[in-house]
Every structure is written in C-alpha cells, then in structure tokens.
Symmetry: C2
Subunit: 304 residues, 2 copies
C-alpha cells in the first residue's frame, strides 16, 4: 500500500515565545511527510523554486518514496511564509505570504504514483486544485482532504465540490464551525457536514485533542500534554501524516472504530513531538522507539 500526497513546500520564518528561526523548511506537504515517514513514506506532488536547497531536497527524499512530481519552476522562488505566535500560542499572526512558485502550481500525478492501492492525501491548497487531483486519482482507495478558513470563506462552492469527491475531511474546530454555518457544538457541526459519500470527519482541537466522526461512531481523545511548546507550526499536518500513515500501514480502509481510535492515539503522540521543536525538528530528531515509549505514556495518562 502507499500514500500519494499533494501540498505545499515552503520556507518559513517563525517567531515564537521560545525563539525564532529564519527560512526553515516548512509547508503542509513537508510536515505531512515528516510525520508519515515512520510508517509509510508518501509519494510527493508539489512545487518549489530555484532557491530550494540541497539540504531541503535531502530531507524530502528521506521522508518520501518518490519526489518525481515535485517540480522546480525556473526563475521562481519557493513559497515563503513569515509569522509569529502570541504568548499563548493560540493565534498565528501572518506577516508575509509570498506564494511565488506555488501561485503557478498545476499538480499532476504521474502514472507510476497511481499503480496499486494507495491513499490520496490532499493537503491544504486551493480546492479547485484538490478537485483536479482527486479526478486524476479516481483509482485511489481513499481520498482525505485538509482545508482552511481562507478557502471556506473565499471559495465555498469550489470547496463544496471538492468535498463531494473525498472519503475523509480533516479540519479544526474553528473551521468546522465556519463550514457548518456557525455551529459551536461539534457533534451538531459534524452532522451538518456529513455528505453522502463521506466516511470520516477528523476534527482537530489543538491542545484540546481530537474528535473523529465516523458513519456510526465517535472517537474523542485529549492531546498528549506537552510542557514546553516551542513551535506549533505544522502540528495539524503532522497529525494528518501520522494518521493517514497508520491507516495505510494497517490497512484500515474500512474505518472501523477501534482502528480509528488507535490511529488517532498514534497521530496524537506523533503530533505532540512536532510542537517540541522548530519546523520539522521536533519529529525529525526522534526515533520509532521514542514514539513507542510515548504511546505507552499516553495510554497510562489517558486510557482507562
């Protein structure tokens, strides 16, 4: 089995109460792959500029099983984001967004990516692109889509259309509220969001954990408590990467409750490492053994 993932590759300049970093590797596809790689290295679809360095390429190659569809656009720079977090890490304030190469992104999934059974992950990009890729991947086993407030507000029709072509959606609480027309109770928000072809809705609640809605079940888990949050950038993408890789490597394509619960616990643990370092460091610096150990710890604090 395998994963095909489409998303952004970027340079991030980040300032948090813990410190700051200039032009470190970021982007939804980067964080997704970083977390997925322990169990299932994805095949990547993305775009970068000529400034994308050898260290960055090395990283992507380590975390993926194919980079054939990561295009370099001549004369362009890579996507750049600059921002900071307030003291409580509740809000990320964007100072600079330069789409650069990403503005000209026309994702194309190569034939060799689409051989055999695979899950398609559509990270947070323009929903019209997500739809385009979903159509290219009609033979995929499952499609999971991530999105954000920007698209919900600005391109609702196109997002709605994309969501009709996927099996699972992963969003956060605020996005669920917005998408459901102001529903603050997550159970009722989920009921409103379920479309006929939907199988699963993953609601990330940041430091408050995650709720997952299946057709006939519900899973709710707290976050793994972290004492020192260094940088929350990419925590949601890391959760998605770990979650999808667990589904893929355990063949949980039917989304049964117990399997989903284990996948959610695993993803909670992996995502908890991501906030403990800047950019990809939190996860890149740990071993599968660290993950196993924290899984046991998570069980002891949260399973009863």
């Amino acid at each position: 089995m395998s994963i095909v993932a489409v998303g952004s590759l970027a340079y991030d300049s980040i300032k948090t109460p813990f410190g700051e970093r200039d032009r470190i590797l970021g982007g939804s596809l980067t964080h997704f792959s970083n977390a997925a790689a322990f169990l299932s290295k994805p095949k990547l679809v993305g775009v970068v500029g000529e400034d994308f360095g050898p260290g960055e390429w090395d990283f992507l190659k380590r975390k993926s099983s194919a980079v054939d569809a990561v295009k370099v656009l001549n004369g362009e720079k890579s996507f750049f984001w600059k921002g900071y977090y307030t003291k409580d890490f509740d809000t990320a304030v964007t100072e600079v967004t330069e789409l650069n190469a990403f503005a000209k992104f026309t994702p194309a999934v190569p034939d060799n990516y689409r051989a055999g059974d695979y899950i398609l992950f559509l990270a947070n990009i323009d929903p019209s692109m997500q739809l385009e890729v979903a159509k290219q991947c009609r033979n995929s086993k499952l499609i999971v889509l991530d999105t954000m407030n920007y698209w919900i507000k600005n391109t609702p029709a196109s997002l709605d259309e994309a969501m009709k072509h996927v099996d699972g959606v992963i969003i956060n609480e605020g996005e669920a509220e917005l998408l459901s027309g102001g529903e603050k109770n997550m159970i009722r928000a989920a009921e409103k969001l379920f479309l006929p072809n939907f199988k699963i809705l993953i609601l990330k609640k940041g430091s408050h954990g995650v709720m997952i809605f299946g057709r006939d079940f519900l899973v709710t888990l707290p976050a793994f408590p972290v004492r020192e949050v260094v940088d929350p950038t990419g925590a949601g993408d890391s959760f998605a990467g770990a979650f999808v890789s667990y589904i893929d490597s355990n063949g949980l394509y039917d989304f049964d409750r117990d399997g989903i619960k284990r996948a959610a616990a695993y993803a909670t643990v992996v995502a908890s490492f991501s906030v403990q370092g800047f950019g990809v460091e939190g996860i890149d610096n740990i071993s599968p053994r660290d993950v196993d150990q924290r899984m046991k710890e998570f069980q002891s604090v949260a399973s009863f």
Copy 2:
C-alpha cells in the same frame, strides 16, 4: 466512610439558549450532593432562608445522609442567583446576586459528622470560611477545596492560607491561569500551584475535559460528548461530587494513578448528564444503570 460537604444552597433563575427556569434549586452544595449521592450521600453543612420550601428539603434529604447542619435563618431569604448563558455556553452572565442568608453563614460542623473516617469537601465559598471549617475537621481523612476567580482576585492571602490546609484543589483552567500568575500551559500552572502538602490538583476544562495532577502522575481525559447542552450550571460541582464520592466509596485515599483515572472517568460521565437538564434535573432523572451504560459508551469512544 463518608463525606462532609460545606457549600451554598440557592435559588437560581437561569436562561439558556434552550429555555428558562425561575427560582429552581441550585448552589454548589446542591449540585455536589446530587452527583455524589449515587455512591456516597454526604453530610451537609449550609444555610438557607425561611423561603426554603418543602420540595427543596425533600431533595436535600434524598441526596444526603444528614442535614442537621443546614441552618434556617429567621427573617432571611435564601441565596438567589439570576443569570443567562450566551449562545455557545462559554460565558455565564450574572444579572442578580442576592447573598441573603448566605451573607450571615458561619459554618459549624457538628460532632456527629466528624465521627469515623471522612472526606471534607469545601465547595466554593469565602476561603476564610473554608479555612475555619478545615480547622474544625482536623481529624478528616482528606480535604478537597473548590474556589473561583472572585476569591483568587479579592482575597488571595486568605485563599492561600486555606489552600495550605487541604490535600486537593479543584479549579478550572481559567482559575489555574489566574492563580499561577498568568500561566497558560496547564502543566506549568500545576507546577507553580503545588504546595508542600498538596496531593492532587484537579483542573476542569469544561467541554474540553479534565486534567488531574498528582505528585508523580498526570491524568488527562476528554469530556463525554453531549449533543444537546441544556444548562451547564453546576456541571463543575457535579464533577466534584461524583469524583469525591468515587474516591470515598472505593477508599482511594492514597490517590494512586489508576484509581484517580477511574474516578475522573466516572465523574466525567456523571457531569455529562448534569448539562442535559436544567438545574438538578439532568442527574436527578437518571438511574445508576444509566451511569453504567454511559461509562461503557465513554470507554468505547475515549479509551484505547
């Protein structure tokens, strides 16, 4: 074993997005006893006015094992609170607070309450009164204290003194932040709040669950997801009542992690019923069998 509980008895007029009720039975001691009664009916210490009706007395007698120390003040009315909740239930807005009899409360714990092993629960009242009662109950097995923002802001010295005499404190996230001098990370807030004689700190997070800090362990659980929240009044007191009754009836005076985790799961379930009806109804209308059934459901959605 038994529980001695001190707190407020009140009439509440409550308006929520779901409806409204005028002068229904409320108060921290009421909600605490309502939830504790399934496992361990507490002995009550409180004060009411002459207007306290026969229906209210019947309720207190059903939910307690002694009301000898609930005093009726002649010529006084009972504590009265009027308020409403905004659409998202995030904030309770107080319209009227009439302390009435409660302003003249001088709690006295009778000798017969203090026979044998017992846990003393100090519901949210003036910390100088809590300290006074704690001193009257030096022979108690354990003392657990609840408090709120009002006392943290207005009588910090007296609260600090009261907290030095207790084994456990139960507060919510916002109160922990305030009490720790602005610490938003709950692990660090807990570290700051731990006093030498403290054994346990219970941090309620409302719809986001609960975190419990012991000397050498941590427990974190999500809330039980409720689709129809009718009235959140008393949910925190209900959690406390169910939690303390579980500790008492299972003899968990040593606060071991597994016992605390089970107590927290049990209290989460009982508190989830409390928000499904106005005032005491949510819990008063259910049977131990309903609690057992929801415990199994909670396990299936949140234990992994």
